[in-house]
């Protein structure tokens, strides 16, 4: 037991000695969570649009005022047509041109019918669609306002409720994702490097001939990273709750236990990488560069998994962070209990056990 403690202390020294390791260990999660929380959101706002009012009458004026009052848009009024529209959109700053044709108001007065045209830059399809949805909603609201009530006999009023996210907090979706991503990369990379370093320096052999059991060597290697990762987890959680106002709806104990399980899975994966690589560089290349984009893509928090080709969906099943992401989303954001996440939990346990068995086997083989 005393040996184990000494060993763990040594690992801590290793981590704290190198400031650049600390940058990755704690700097990266903090930077990421803040970026995802404040800078990157799925919300679409500050849309730059040009309004070309060729009608210049009371009705067009009223609609323009409504568009201007909306917080989604930054508007500019400029009468343009034909080629100028294309020129404007090519500059890349303007996302949509709204065109009131001449005679808009008089058509509306005389025939109770008028035309209105939106030309959006479709380069980013979701932004373009969201923008058109916003504009349509404004026009529909205006339409209702000016129509006499008797003219609208059967009116269906859709009432929308945003479940789990009343304030439409755009970063909500990213928090569980970043948590999964950061823990996965940091745990795996640091553990694999820590073990391979001993191999590279030749100190592993020394450890193995000591009376200390090989399994204990691995445990002693893993414990500091388990503790550091849990600290990391708490740090991210605190930042999310107190800085980003993301609520924890479910049981915090369940969340903690599940996170511990996920960290164990990542540590086992790191150990596995360390048994198949010979140098710190190779380990790092594999665990960081190699894992980075797949983890980001297959966790499903940026790109919806259901849009991917079936082969990718199949691959995503073997990525541990995918299951952890589902668990965090259910427990933390939806406030659901263990009955909803037992399947994911079982999968994570299975992965951990398999990875541990394989790496222990590899490890012993090397000894012989």
């Amino acid at each position: 037991m005393k040996q184990l403690l000494i060993f763990i202390r040594m690992e801590f020294y290793h981590v704290f000695r190198d400031r650049r390791t600390l940058l990755i260990m704690f700097g990266l999660p903090v930077a990421q969570i803040l970026l995802f929380g404040f800078a990157l959101s799925s919300e679409v706002k500050n849309l730059r649009i040009v309004i070309s009012d060729q009608a210049k009458d009371a009705n067009s004026r009223q609609i323009i005022d409504k568009i201007k009052a909306s917080s989604y848009f930054i508007t500019e009024e400029k009468t343009i047509g034909g080629n100028e529209i294309e020129k404007t959109l090519k500059k890349g700053d303007i996302q949509c041109v709204v065109i009131f044709p001449s005679g808009f108001g008089s058509d509306l007065q005389r025939f109770h019918k008028a035309q209105l045209q939106f030309i959006a830059d479709g380069t980013d399809p979701n932004t373009a669609k969201t923008l058109v949805n916003y504009l349509n909603a404004i026009v529909a609201g205006y339409q209702k306002e000016i129509s006499p009530p008797a003219a609208l006999p059967y009116t269906i009023i859709p009432e929308t409720r945003m479940l789990y996210n009343e304030e439409s907090n755009g970063s909500l979706n990213y928090i569980p994702g970043v948590l999964a991503l950061v823990l996965m990369i940091v745990c795996t990379a640091l553990t694999s490097v820590a073990v391979v370093r001993e191999k590279e320096l030749g100190t592993m052999e020394i450890l193995l001939v000591s009376p200390f059991k090989p399994v204990m060597v691995l445990i002693a290697k893993a414990i500091p990273y388990l503790i550091l990762s849990l600290a990391n987890f708490l740090l991210i959680l605190l930042l999310s709750v107190y800085v980003l106002d993301v609520p924890i709806r479910g049981s915090i104990i369940l969340l903690f236990l599940e996170s511990m399980l996920f960290i164990l899975a990542c540590l086992s994966f790191g150990l596995f990488i360390s048994t198949v690589t010979e140098s710190q560089q190779a380990a790092l290349l594999l665990s960081m560069m190699g894992m980075m984009i797949p983890t980001m893509v297959f966790t499903g928090f940026i790109f919806p998994l259901e849009n991917m080709p079936w082969i990718f969906q199949l691959i995503s099943n073997i990525v541990p962070s995918r299951w952890y992401y589902l668990i965090v989303k259910s427990v933390m954001l939806k406030g659901l209990g263990f009955v909803y996440v037992w399947k994911e939990t079982l999968i994570l346990i299975g992965m951990t056990v398999i990875l541990l068995i394989v790496s222990l086997k590899n490890f012993k083989k090397r000894l012989a």
Binding site: S41, R48, H112, P125, P153, P158
Partner: protein, 371 residues
Amino acid sequence: MLRYILQKEFRQLFRDKTILAMMFVMPTVQLTIIPLAMNFEVKNINVAVVDLDHSSFSQKLISKVSASGYFRYVNVSPSYKEGLKSIERGTADLIMEIPAGFERNLVREGSQKISISVDAINGTKASLGTGYLTTIVGDFNQHIQLNINADRTHTEQPYQIDTTYSYWFNPLGEYKYYIVPGVLVLLLTLIGGFISALNIVKEKEAGTIEQINVTPIKKWQFILGKMIPFWIMGMIVFTLGLLVTRLVYGIVPEGSLGVLYLFASVYLIALLGFGLLISTYSENQLQAMFVAFFFMMIFMLMSGLFTSIESMPAWARTIANLTPITHFIKVIRMIMLNGSGLGDIKMELLYEVLFAIVLNSWAIWNYKKTT
């Protein structure tokens, strides 16, 4: 003097076949595969319908929703509670609840509410899903109103503004046009950034830097000698990437290739300068990789590849503008999709030139021949 160091760098570059292969094969393969997974398109929104009315109106509304093509029914639940369960389980994204007495109230009282409850954790899906649904309900509404109003004179008719909309440069809203050019830039950045960040530090580790330090070579010649081979490699990688974009995804640049290459060449100088700068600050390859990874991560997230820069708060936009990759991603999309010309991108080009000058001078300044 410069000639000799170039000769040495090229020889070293061609000697290490694995790195060379990695530089060319990795981006080509990744560019072919990754965009397939990066699809933000919102389709097949799973909707649980709770119809408590079972009237002809509610049936019509439901069939209108299913005919729209955006939605997929997961179940028709007997109650809101049941519907909520499918949201909790993650099988439904949205519940549309039609209350009892829907038709009767519409006829008698003239208006009736229906409720739409959406799983709002995923903001994009939630806002587009409710947007589509309210549009469909609105259409349905207008349709039944027209039937009733048919025999009235037009002054009694409601006002109706028909909106037409079109999406230029990408009329079908396909994500590949948006993603592929961006991923090309990202891969170029990863390759160029890492390889250059590891380079000088490799000489430090091997000790060969001391040998270079005692030669009369100037600091700028040394950096330039490191830069030129990588720059040429980078341009080849970029060309390969453009070929993949063209052959695999069928994306043909709308704008001028010359302008694109001009921009890419300036961008590479800035990027390689950044990599070399990291290299001059690091003591071993591991450190260089950690630091490079940290910055690459930030670059990637802030670049506008995944989320639009316009929606960011002002301070984040400032950071985004201070990263060279942001401008290149914007410009490559503008040139390839919108067909923008040199005049449209001159500001971005100016930024990139500034980055190139600052980063490289910094790297030269920080590279010390004496320890």
